[in-house]
């Protein structure tokens, strides 16, 4: 039973840490909510590859969607993740992102279209976590840094600097804090209720705009609650999950003064499905849709977020294997 619960905990946590790349217009550089920890037994290495597609096509004024389909923004993120548990409680995790940003404006003049894009290494993240409670209920806390290694000086075809939210990197050092809670249902041991809190405390880029201004993306707060389960379907183990995510992003700042048209509040609903197709290897797809939007002033807002991931775990422990084969 302990073996099964470890597996279920791992699966539940995995679903709860799906990549949530966020484009700006709604605040911040991608990889802001792609955080979480899969705490298994000690000496387990987990590797995953995530691809994430975030599309923004709806123009909002406050909580009113405007009848305007003349613009589209998208962020495509590709994350390589590695997670290692040193002990039953202590783990570290790293993310290495590649980010592609696009902006397309459809002009009603001559049916022309203006297209801008960038592609490059984003800001990597390094996190550590510690499981404070490790009984029937599991509670882990952690923190880390998002390092400003991604480029923020990409130019378009005319040699002009792209705007901040089209850059792969932010140029700022962020501090990330996280809390993760999982509670199994006694009536159904395979089902877990999970909750997650993420605080992204953003730093400032003093070299923004050709070194003339300081740009600060808004702090980002996210709260996630969901349910995961494990089912047997046609002799195949599947891992369905549903969750709600509330996100609050504060306004960006230019030279410490708040910027209009940035920040807001959102509530998303997500459905996930994972399949364990070979030993300790899982493919997962999830779709997230907004069910409530409120933006400051007028901004584009996400229409859909789709994530595809492949995940593999390797155990180096001499203890009995805790994974289902």
């Amino acid at each position: 039973m302990k073996k099964v619960r470890y597996i279920l905990f791992f699966v539940g946590l995995f679903f709860s840490l799906q990549l949530q790349a966020q484009t700006c217009c709604s605040g911040g550089v991608p990889v802001s909510s792609n955080i979480g920890f899969s705490h298994t037994q000690k000496q387990v290495l987990q590797l995953s590859l995530n691809t994430n597609f975030n599309t923004l096509k709806t123009l909002y004024s406050g909580n009113v969607a405007l009848d305007d389909d003349d613009r589209k923004r998208s962020t495509q993120s590709y994350l390589m993740r590695a997670h290692y548990t040193f002990t039953d409680r202590l783990a570290v995790e790293g993310f290495f992102p590649l980010v592609r940003q696009t902006r397309e404006i459809f002009s009603r003049v001559n049916d022309a279209s203006d297209f801008e894009s960038s592609f490059g290494v984003g800001d990597p993240i390094l996190l550590a976590s510690y499981k404070l409670v490790d009984s029937n209920i599991k509670w882990a806390v952690g923190g880390g840094l998002q390092f400003p290694l991604g480029s923020f000086t990409e130019r378009n075809s005319r040699g002009l600097f792209l705007v901040e939210d089209l850059q792969p990197g932010s140029g700022a050092l962020d501090v990330i804090l996280i809390s993760l809670l999982e509670v199994p249902l006694t009536s159904r041991p395979s089902m877990n209720v999970f909750g997650r809190t993420i605080f992204d405390l953003t730093g400032s880029n003093s070299e923004s705009r050709n070194g003339q201004q300081t740009y600060t993306f808004g702090n980002d707060y996210q709260f996630i609650v969901g349910i995961s389960d494990q089912l047997l379907l046609a002799q195949q183990i599947i891992y369905p999950s549903v969750s709600l995510r509330y996100r609050n992003t504060q306004r960006d700042k230019v030279d410490s003064i708040e910027n209009s048209g940035t920040g807001g509040n959102w509530l998303f609903a997500k459905a996930s499905l994972g399949i364990n197709f070979i030993a300790e290897t899982t493919i997962t797809i999830d779709v997230e849709l907004p069910i409530y939007t409120f933006v400051n002033e007028t901004q584009l807002s996400p229409n859909s977020i789709i994530n595809l991931s492949i995940h593999k775990a390797f155990s180096f422990s001499k203890e009995p294997d805790l994974f289902i084969n």
Binding site: L45, D68, M80, L98, R158, L160, V163, L166, I257, E297
Partner: protein, 363 residues
């Protein structure tokens, strides 16, 4: 499965996904005739040109404007105490409310035989009339989405050239170096404008775009002197940054005139500047200020009988755009507005750092 094998497999998938996700970029339309502007030559420092965020035509110009009259009480009640940019041409008056201009920045309009682009930059507070006939070609102007010294950069659709609104010239593209012909405009409240021109047309919200025109998009920007959204090349602290100042351009020299903080009556200022005789009329309560050529060096006095604001020594009376009113003089005895426009003080200090500020007493 060995770790190395799995990692190699992941890397392969990773690279494949990147390659497959690469999409073909749409081709921007070349200028008519097949010419494509040279993107590499700018008359201003290229690294001082910034993408404002919305993108080219992301702030859509109004190219087929729709107008109401004062009988449209919804428009009048909504905008009566707010600023408009107005124009009078051959007796025909039109007003363009700033709450609509804030969202579109350019209106391509035809008033009789005059083709004019009403250009307005919310970030520098500058409303300037641009002649749409450039190099003998009638064009439309659009919003490029670029900013120089935090000021609007229009582009002309005939050649895809990029212009600087407050520099009044083209800085990139086939029209590079060409000066724009400035058409006089007037900035005041809708209430004052309709008092002077009761038959005026008023740009309405039937723009073809869905925007919340009742909401100013930039928060406290108009009144926060410390808030500048994009880099500027020069800071001039002689006046508060967001004070609205009328700048009058005479050749390469510029002089600024302020609204009075001493009086709410109509006042007149007369002075010579850079070889030109200028007469300025202003009224802070009614929120207008204008500068006219005074080639004949006449003496003017202010009139408190609005819409009459000026009276010259020959008894001819004029309104705030220099149109002759009353029975004295000839029908064509209108005053000519000088090359001038209102802007936030910080933008004058950025574009024209040698600018003088008039200290002549009004009367």
């Amino acid at each position: 499965m060995r770790i190395s094998t799995f990692f190699i497999g992941l890397t392969f998938i990773f690279i494949s996904l990147i390659a497959c996700s690469d999409q073909t970029e749409p081709i921007n339309n070349p200028a008519p005739g097949g010419d494509v502007f040279d993107p590499n030559v700018w008359d201003i420092p290229r690294d001082e040109v910034f993408d404002g965020g919305p993108g080219k035509d992301g702030i859509p110009s109004i190219d087929d404007p729709s107008f109401s009259t004062k009988d449209d009480l919804d428009i009048v009640n909504k905008y009566n105490d707010l600023l408009v940019t107005g124009i009078v041409h051959n007796g025909q008056a039109r007003a363009y409310p700033h709450p609509i201009l804030d969202w579109h920045e350019i209106v391509n309009d035809d008033i009789g035989d005059l083709s004019v682009a009403i250009t307005f930059c919310p970030l520098t507070g500058t409303g300037i009339g641009w002649d749409r006939v450039v190099n003998e070609v009638k064009t439309e102007f659009g919003v490029s989405g670029l900013l120089y010294d935090t000021n609007l950069m229009p582009y002309d659709r005939a050649t895809e050239s990029t212009w600087s609104q407050q520099r009044l010239n083209c800085v990139n593209g086939r029209n590079r170096g060409r000066e724009i012909n400035v058409i006089p405009l007037m900035e005041t409240t809708l209430r004052t404008w309709l008092e002077a021109y009761p038959d005026s047309e008023i740009l309405n919200e039937d723009t073809g775009f869905n925007r919340n025109y009742g909401v100013y998009p930039y928060g406290d920007y108009r009144t926060n002197n410390d808030r500048i959204l994009f880099p500027i090349s020069n800071t001039d602290s002689r006046l508060p940054g967001k004070e609205r100042v009328l700048g009058v351009l005479v050749g390469d020299n510029v002089i600024g005139y302020r609204f009075s903080d001493q009086s709410n009556e109509t006042e007149v200022i007369q002075e010579n500047f850079s070889g030109a005789s200028i007469v300025v009329v202003r009224n802070t309560e009614k929120n207008f200020i204008a500068a006219f050529e005074n080639e004949n060096n006449l003496t003017f006095e202010a009139s408190q009988n609005f819409p009459t604001v000026l009276k010259d020594e020959n008894g001819i009376e004029y309104d705030m755009t220099g149109q002759r009113i009353g029975s004295n003089g000839n029908p064509n005895d209108n005053l000519t507005q000088m090359k001038s426009f209102i802007g936030y003080w910080f933008s004058w200090g950025t574009f024209y750092p040698e600018m003088e500020i008039s200290e002549v007493e009004s009367r």
